[in-house]
Symmetry: C2
Subunit: 239 residues, 2 copies
């Protein structure tokens, strides 16, 4: 059992809490039973545990509670973490019928929740702009509840993505507060893509101009819905 | 300008970071321009600022950046906070047509987002069970984006609330994963209430039995949607 924070393996794992090293090593940490279980169905390279509860096929690292507390992102960690290989997020627009595009979405909870919801509604791909929050941020991962491991996610320039989608006859919808039409006038299309915009600024003006239609969800009293909520309603509406 | 953390007023304000003192004093802290602006339309007792930018009608406390950093809940605080009076959350079911009931919902972001969404969809009241996360938790307040100040929120035993709702001819829907019907078979009713359940356990079994109908949102790949997402879809569906 590793009890020292100066252990080389632990020091290396600690680095994965920073995006820079996650990018360099192409690895990331996950924690908790549910996420580890989901990860093991796909790709989990190494287990980190404080107690020997079951035999794992993966390489397993035993650490003290103290070490686990430092590795963990939460105050009261579960006694299990995992090290996973980052997926391939090459700028390739997949053949499909439903796409969710994220334009500079910054809140990790929002991004994670949108991935979870898109998976639930059978989306083929999520296309993230290059300046969204890091997909491997611990809060993003936690909010996906494991959906991260099942969803095809690519990262690329959204303008280029829309061009590619148009070549595949995909109708692209922007969600906007102004100069937009009520979502209720639109019917389901065979191939559709929706863009969710930055929490404060919405969708970039140039990106919005590439959209086939701009839609809004009719609401009252307040200016806007949370972006994960709005996206989910759009996904549900066109489901 | 107050520069010392030992100042009695600051010590008193610091206490409001704990639920116990918020309950005792019936006061809570908010922070940032947007929330303070919303609060001032309703009830903001005192402003806390680091720089004199404009004249406020409210009593204003000038503090150093160091003091603001300690009072704030965020790492890089905006230079403005406010002290507000807690609202009255007496166990009174209002006359209305749309209600959202929260059964032991624990995540502050979920509760805040649900309040914001319910306001956007014109809900008359939110009824929180007594064991939800504290409404005045800073993350709840932030997620409401100010909707907290406009929404009627009562806290009471949900079983009793459902009895009262039934007396007012309100149809009560539970969202559940099992023994439930597809939401798409249901049409809008004049008076409706929805219950959102605890993130891990869903709605309490006894509460579920009091419901007129149990509904689910048809999804694939994963077991459930985030509770704020599911509630929003239900609210949108019956809008």
């Amino acid at each position: 059992m590793i009890t020292s924070l100066n252990n080389e393996t632990i020091k290396e794992l600690m680095k994965l809490k920073q995006k820079k090293y996650r990018d360099e090593r192409q690895l990331f940490l996950i924690e908790g039973y549910h996420l580890v279980e989901e990860a093991r169905k796909h790709k989990c390279l190494k287990m980190i545990v404080t107690t020997l509860q079951e035999q794992f096929d993966e390489e397993t690292l035993y650490v003290s509670s103290n070490v686990m507390n430092k590795l963990s992102f939460t105050k009261t960690p579960q006694p299990i973490m995992g090290v996973c290989q980052k997926q391939n997020h090459n700028a390739i627009v997949k053949e499909g019928k439903r796409y969710l595009l994220l334009d500079r979405v910054q809140d990790p909870g929002n991004v994670g929740t949108m991935i979870r919801t898109a998976l639930a509604f059978g989306y083929d791909q999520i296309i993230m702009s290059l300046d969204c929050v890091d997909l491997y941020n611990d809060k993003v991962i936690r909010s996906t509840q494991g959906a991260l491991f099942q969803m095809n996610i690519c990262m690329m320039d959204l303008s280029l993505a829309i061009e590619k989608l148009h070549l595949q006859d995909v109708k692209v919808y922007g969600t906007a507060l102004y100069k937009a039409k009520d979502i209720n006038v639109f019917e389901k299309q065979e191939k559709m893509a929706f863009i969710a915009g930055n929490e404060g600024q919405g969708i970039d003006k140039d990106i919005l101009e590439q959209c086939d239609e701009c839609i809004y969800i009719p609401i009252q009293s307040i200016e806007s819905l949370n972006v994960a909520i709005a996206s989910s309603i759009v996904m549900y509406h066109f489901h």
